[in-house]
Amino acid sequence: MKIIGEKINGTRKRVAQAIAERDTVFIQDLACKQAEAGAAWLDVNAGTHPSREADDLVWLIENIQAVTETPLCLDSANPAALSVAIKAVNKTPMINSISGEPARLEGILPLAAEHGCPVIALAMDDKGIPKTMEDRMTVIRRVVAETRRQGLPDGNLYFDPLAMTISTDIQSANIAIGTMRAVRAEIPEAHLTCGLSNISFGLPARSHINRVFVTLAMQAGLDSAILDPLDQEMKAAIITTELVLGRDRHCLGYTRAFRAGVFGK
């Protein structure tokens, strides 16, 4: 299960402040902490107005790369900002994200194809987020046809089935997880990813919901996720799920995590 560290996101107030004030120490600390906690990619989202986004992304990228080797995940819907930002990276980044929206397929996919980037693909288009699993798969099929046409290997794709919050639709998790199973069956080389905290928005005791969701999703084939690598409870849930699903040879990941204090004292 590969973790995309979510913390460097300018839509969060404290990070927005650090970006505006060019607070190098704060950003580098966030990068290092996430890397040490085992993130496979660091998501980088400037969260600023399109007129400033490219500059802010480049500043973030340069400062993060100065302190860690972990690959970055460039998070933006703005093709102009992404094409500037991608020149600043020192290793192939992941791109977050494309979708069925024509603007993203035309503006962002070519960039990912040109640089051979892994790319997150959202199961939605310009009509919005499809309500049913079948409709999400229709969008996904359209996206994969286009990525193949542009020469992107299926293995570079990280499909996000879009976990909507359960508080407005009690079937949200079932729909997302059903979509994950379908992707696994139809596009076996593609990966899956998901932002894990959305599922519990609007409900209390969110960590309990998030952990159960990730467990069920991992059984359906989720092999990466966008989350807080510093969240010990989430980490414990993921490691335990890998153990119970039979993916932890000699239970070594689990016992190591135990000794490292992941499960508490």
Partner: protein, 209 residues
Amino acid sequence: MSKALIDAITDMREEDAVRTAKEMVDKGTSPMEVLESCREAMTIIGQRFEAGDCFVPELILAGEVLHQISDVVKPKLTQTAKQKKLGRVVIGTVEGDIHDIGKDIVTFMLDVNGFEVRDLGVDVPAAKFVEAVKEFQPQVVGLSGFLTLAYDPMKNTVQALKDAGLRDKVKVMIGGGQMDDQIRQYTRADAYGKDAMAAVALAKSWVGG
């Protein structure tokens, strides 16, 4: 006002609430009194939500209960007995953005606090806002957006209202993701709100409530 009805609604006892409302109407209780109890219950629920004591799904359930009770009561309402509203609000999530939960909560709170709300939904182009303002004639327009890409559509919507000669007839409030006075100035809105209670306070102040 009926304590039994208020309690049934605030306790989320859906069947009890609808049954109690039906019994009241059958016994000859005025429809206005039933609706008053509903409004009181919704105000309590709104306060609990703001205090973090009840949650989004409960707001949705309360809305559904109110809808069911309205269906029972409305046939008995006479023209003159229609509830007086504080004012009218047009609200929507701007073009290019489909986030709706925050907007839906604002709509719920405005409704509960006595406003007539026309919710245009999500991904709403400026022209649709203009059309709604012309037709519905609200005192207040609420623009919601979560993405940073929403600021320009907000600005364009305010400009479109100006171009249509409607800007002076309404007050515009914005809300959603990162909001501050800089963004407010950029969009040329009249005010920004951090949450649903702020939206209600702004709307009330503008209609003189």
